[in-house]
Amino acid sequence: MSYEVLAHWLAEVGHHGFDQFTEAHTWALAGRHVASPYAALRELSALAYIEVDWRRRTWGAAPPCLTLLPDAGGHGLLVGARTARLTREVDERIQSHDAIAIPVAQTRAPDSIFIAAGSETALERAADALEIPYAHSVVERLAAVLPGLDAELVTRRTHPVVMHYGVDRYDIDDGWSPVDSDDAPGMYKYERSGPTAIHFVDENDARFDVDLAVGAWAEARRRGVSDLLWWKRDFVNGTLDVPQFLPLPSLHARAATLCSGLPARFHDGSYFYVNVPEWLAHRIASDLAQVLIVK
């Protein structure tokens, strides 16, 4: 089994809770020693395959569309959730519009389906044939609305929670480790009988109910670490290097991922997003209170 099979199920079911996703993920990827279900939710969200409501522990399949990748030789990308039927019909429907589908299998994600066409007009016609919208460069549209850290935190103020089953503190170099107290500023994970809660506590003792990514970057800013994002040119655009323990917040991860349609590649303690334009890398760094290191 593979993520492709799981992805077809996500699109077919449409929306559900985390428990059902966890069961389906566990089943579909059994024996593959892949990422945890939560990491898979983050990855599928970055690929714009699903939207995840972390607070209510639900997910929904995002509508599919066709877009042009930035500086990728005129290749389009089929973005969003694909049912098995749509996936099966893609090639057959677009062939008569001077376009062909190029599925590229992934180990940690559903197949990436690139559309090779002679022109952007051909891509638009292919989208029509698939009965899905065409969106010229979703990366640019997403980049226009990327929120900074303060915009992320302003909606997440919260109160302390009871610490029944254990507290872990996050270190941006080492990840989670158990602690006895959450008195000091930092990011904490609280085990509960339901889902775990992650809180970021700032220097003023203000507390924010965050997801892992937002909390990790807020913690990096609190510690005054600003050289965590690197970018290296690859002829046209470049590769964004993101540390393992500081995943990009959901919309930033999506903007970076949809530059290529490929999930970030993990290697040697970092996640690498390919084909990220320099302007976007700077924008992401700025949002996360970082100074982009151009290699």
Binding site: P63, L68, G74, E131, S137, A151
Partner: protein, 692 residues
Amino acid sequence: MRLVSSGSDWGPTEWCSALAEHFFCPESAQLPVLFFIDEALLAALHPSRDAGVAVTSLSEAVRRGLANPNPHGYFDGFERRGRQWKLAGARDCPPFLHLLALCVLAATRMGTGGVATSNYRHHICGLLDLSDAEMPAGFRDSLGYLWDTLTWWLDCHHRGDLGLSTIVEGKHFTHIGYPISQTLFRSVDNQRLDDFFRWIGLRAGEEIDDDVLVAHFRAWAPGNGLSDGALRVVGEPEFDATIRRILGRFSQTWDGTSSKAGGERRTALRVVISAFPRVSASAMAEQPDGFPDRLEGAFAGRTVSATADDGVYSLTGEIEGKMLSNGLDLGTAAARLVLDGSDVHVLELDAELGGWASVKAIRPGARHWLLVSPAHAKDVLAQLDQCAQVCGAIGPGPAALREWTMVRNVVFDGAASLSGALSVRRPTHSNRLALRGGLPLGAANAYLAGGAPDLWLPAVPQNETGPIPQLDGTPLDARSEQIRLADVLPSSDSSSHVVQWAGTRRSFTTVASALRAPESDAVPAHGLDVDEHNRACAHHPPSVNPLGSVRVQGAIVDGLTVPSRPAPVLLKRGAQSAWLLGAQPGQIREITAPRTPSWHRRIGLADQLFEARAEFEVAWVVERWRFEPQLRIRRIVDLMPDRERCESVESLALWAGLLHEATLNGADEQVSVRLEQYRAVAHELSGEAEPA
């Protein structure tokens, strides 16, 4: 209270009364009753308390009622008295119970006395003081009637208020199936039923179909101390009704600690790790109804106790490593707390006990903590490394358990061939037959094609073979508790299927993908507030109805007009050079093809094209090729030529020259007309600048 006479020489009435009082009483209401008779029981009933005397007394009481063998057989008198008793309203107890008891006694003697183990005739004739050359005349017809009448009396006349019949006419034995049916499943077997109920994790009040119980009992029975007779009952289909009734009825009396089949009330004492305010370990149990507030037991030469507070027992004092290894037993048969000793304890988050509490086995997909004894830590960690989907922090156990290894957040995604100390903890769904996993759809028992569920079987002891499951009548390879049916069925399969196992069945359907696009209901979206500069100033995390004027759902951004850069122009790498031309004379940009990015090559995307942009809107592209026509022009955007011109003389000349010399191939008339308009503008320029 004993109602029968205490005389030493009992007749039929005394025996029938004593037997009825012993077996068929209000305490047995709605419970299966096994009319099991052996010498020990007869001695306990008879005033003499002597087995030999009791057997002789019973035999004589029966022999007194025998008739002449002709014309209706020896037992005609019993049969007639039975009919009369039934017609008279069946008051009092059946007047033939002593005869049935003697028949059962003969069955319990099979295999003794130097005759074949299947020889019943020798024993019944001996007890009746008849020749064993042949079965006594009338035995089959009369006794069949009398056994059926006893069933009628229990199940119909008294509606089970004195117990329920377990009498079956065993087809394997022509004459003696009835009595044998009462000898197979004995009281010692009854007492093991509670172990079985614990094994399948039966919850108090839980209703399970009788056939499902029987199927699981068949899987559990081997190697669990049942008598040979009980194993026969389990294995032979003719006893299905009996075993169904036994399991079904006793399961209904299960209160979480015992059933009426068992002898003791017992609940599990569980190892509990509390993580706050500091990591600590204890042993705890929920207090069942009727259990005292304090229970004691011996451990390592001292008395250990557990006291209940607010419905939860806690062990007094620290829990020690030896308790985890060797187990702990507190209380008496009336109320017992038992911590099963083990070298590996599997724990799961338990809100009732306020921490990570030990469970019997790993549950697929669930997060666990493990406590591992020092002797097995290396082996267990090696297996986790190989088989666990997720494995978190590893460190020493808390307080007195610091010699033990504590492993946090272990997740198994399926069955695993665990060995050593982990083998008894291998993943199971409470030892229940279950269809789990797969890719379920909204309709009951429906799964997406290619996503058929896994069949989970109860975990039989290693080296034992359980019943073989079948899919649509075809045997399945059951080398593991988990069978991936999706691997057996074609991925495009779209049909209904039936799984059969040990007499029970489950069905499911696989359904081909029907939708082209996912439903749009209940899909969360990001919400964003933007300031006067269109910058996001607040991000509302995804929800179905997010706040904010801008919404992002997948790749779709709604509610904000994003000024888009001009669309790129796709150029062919094969061209020697290329120029982008705008509508304004002199608007021109020469393009050089960049090298192909490495990620492009890595995933094998074609690289015949590359993108190019200009600071103006591109109307035409001119490419230079090696072969004729060397200069080729194509339209990008249909723009009227502008009359305003650039100031650069070189740009004007190049712009005009390319428009003049490039060849337009295969374009429609409208494009040709537009090109001529551009060429006219270029021609006007030709007097002012030399063409390229």
